[in-house]
Symmetry: C2
Subunit: 468 residues, 2 copies
Amino acid sequence: MTDFVAACRRAIGAQHVLTEEADTAPYLLDRRGRFTGAACAVVRPASTEEVAAIVRLCNEFDVPIVPQGGNTGLVLGGIPDRSGKAVVLSLQRMECIRAIDTVNNTMTVEAGCILQRVQQTAADARRLFPLSLAAEGSCTIGGNLSSNAGGTAVLRYGNSRELCLGLEVVTPQGEIWNGLRGLRKDNTGYDLRDLYIGAEGTLGIITAAVLKLFPQPKAQRTALAALHSPADALRLLTLVQRQCDATLTGFELMSGFCLELVVRHFPQTPLPFNTPYPYYALLELSDHESEMHAAELLDAAIDQAHEQGIVHDAVTAHSLAQSQQLWALRERIPLAQAAEGRNVKHDISLPISRIADFIDATGSELQQSYPGLRPVIFGHLGDGNLHYNIAQPASESDTWLLPHQDAITRIVHDSVHRFDGSISAEHGLGSMKRDEILRYKSPVEMKLMRTIKQALDPRNLMNPGKVV
Amino acid sequence: MTDFVAACRRAIGAQHVLTEEADTAPYLLDRRGRFTGAACAVVRPASTEEVAAIVRLCNEFDVPIVPQGGNTGLVLGGIPDRSGKAVVLSLQRMECIRAIDTVNNTMTVEAGCILQRVQQTAADARRLFPLSLAAEGSCTIGGNLSSNAGGTAVLRYGNSRELCLGLEVVTPQGEIWNGLRGLRKDNTGYDLRDLYIGAEGTLGIITAAVLKLFPQPKAQRTALAALHSPADALRLLTLVQRQCDATLTGFELMSGFCLELVVRHFPQTPLPFNTPYPYYALLELSDHESEMHAAELLDAAIDQAHEQGIVHDAVTAHSLAQSQQLWALRERIPLAQAAEGRNVKHDISLPISRIADFIDATGSELQQSYPGLRPVIFGHLGDGNLHYNIAQPASESDTWLLPHQDAITRIVHDSVHRFDGSISAEHGLGSMKRDEILRYKSPVEMKLMRTIKQALDPRNLMNPGKVV
């Protein structure tokens, strides 16, 4: 192993090969603090050629590779196991924005670019890069693509997959595939790009990407609607989509209990209604005409929903500050939940039409097994993506959850499966859900995935123990 | 071979296994009449299980399989070679619309459904399935997906790839993969769906798909703008996209020579301007508010382009009939070209920002080698997709082209490659461009593609001789 480390030092410079515990610790610790891995070294190459050189050394010395971006993943996809055999390959020094093309509406960036910087660079050129998520200040675009990150603008702009036109990848053999195309149409063979996107670094290392840009909206408008049920939220979604089409860029569902928690732990964020309601929807329009047009469009849709008895009360933001206040209700849910204590988290997706029935059926099933259990339901309803979290019964302390969490997850995931949903909507599988998925994927699908893995990475050096 | 045919007859019924020349001929003839293949039989299974049964028989008897939809492909992707060893597997009897879900905005259809029927079924449910192309009356959705078809609405809605959420596929071993998910987010492993889409039947047979639906627009508005150059067309595109965003659903470029041909061969379609211009752009807005809103939006954009000296003249359609008249100018280009005689066709794409320079550079190069050659340039400028066709010099008859066509294509494709474009934007590779692509794809990319093919179809039974 010392030979391998020495060879890495020669390849990319000694100062970029970390082996001291104090230096490597941040790369080995899961961001949520649930797990610490071990590695023979953390290497920080600065170029695609250096990444390829390291991968070739890993082949020579038979060293497994764990690619890592901003280390903000939620499923242990970028953390090595505890054997200490693997090397962590951090892409953080590959942070060059290689090109921006405002006519083609594309930007070519290296994998280690922080998402927020990508957004800002686009904005400086009067363009929108729409990917947006909680970790945007520290996650990297390479990690976003490797995990096919979702976020809050998927309804209008799609997941990371839909925001990428081309990739540069270092293969498990240390070769460089230059697929950095900025084309909207290209039917010349197999879609390698989409195979690497979402593969969580198990098929190769994404080193650069061509991203799609969009015209910046001229105005944004936010509203909070009070609802009686998830079924009404679905009716509202259909109505607003029909009237506003692509202008609707956000549609978030929140249960009454979510906002009860937010108001309890963040008294500076009051509920803008006199009485609480069972459910709320947060709507956002992004308009390319004017503030006034956005306001008219949103008001008309909400008025109509009011008349049809779908919406019982609603507030619309009349300023950026008011809009941020409404979004704060949504964004503070995870923090409020953490302040309340432990909870069991699930990142699930469902056919949108089945969400209301799923919430009913799963809630009943959980209550039957664990009377008093409190679901904390929120998420991107427009994409069918729920964060379906579970808090202990009000009468118990949160340690009550510990012995029950696996059984609770089993009930939730089995129900997701019955409703034709997915047990990982936007977080990936990593090593955390790698066994769990075997319960739900067909043997045919698992075999296809393993066949591809075996063909592209026959020595199983790329992020072993993750995904498949 | 008679054993194989007999086994097929037992598996799916004798009347669905065609061997008489009169019966098989339509399946063996390329739609443009350039090639006739041979097959031991044409089989027409009616269900996924029957498709799987046939594929298992092909494995048993070592018979290559050529899947076929509506046989409207342009690159010989669905026609067998002349050896007569292969079986043509037609999906035409698999034409069930399995489900439609207007809340999830999805439709589950079998591969043999004609595209126009899919569009109509969506429209009957007040939804839009936006894929639209010249062959829509006879092409099938399975073929559209296998070739990742593009068409006229890509600018707003994407290629076939972006319009599909899930697939059902029969593998080369005759197993059935049920990936018929109707989910907007699902990060549970490798993206098998996008691997089969665009693979032209070389990795498996798509038997059914979950398609995305959209709200129907309330109004459409069409305009024709007269321009001096492709560079001005790009300026117009940027301006209209900034003001109209997703409302802009079509942006077609046409050279003056294209419309000269249309007017010559279709005198009933006059040019709506007093003088001809070097270039034209056809714009289409699809609006979810009202006719009036669409008109205001389009007029404002064109007025502004006028003021900036980008647009020199423009007409806007004030009725459906007028709109169809404008679209007829675009749609009749291929027919007018055919009436004028032979031509050398190229289906190319480029980064949008490089199109003007590409047209200049390629035109000069062609003129240098072949003075008087007449490019017929039109296409989906908003997607960077040009149909860059070539007619003989005006002084020659069209047989002049025959000895020169390969050299002309070489100049065009080499230029496309220099400008970072693709030599097949929306038609695929088939067997026609299978060798051509070797000039332009890197050895690394070809190796990756062959590795995947070899892994998933080790016996090379699936559409051999196509793509890789």
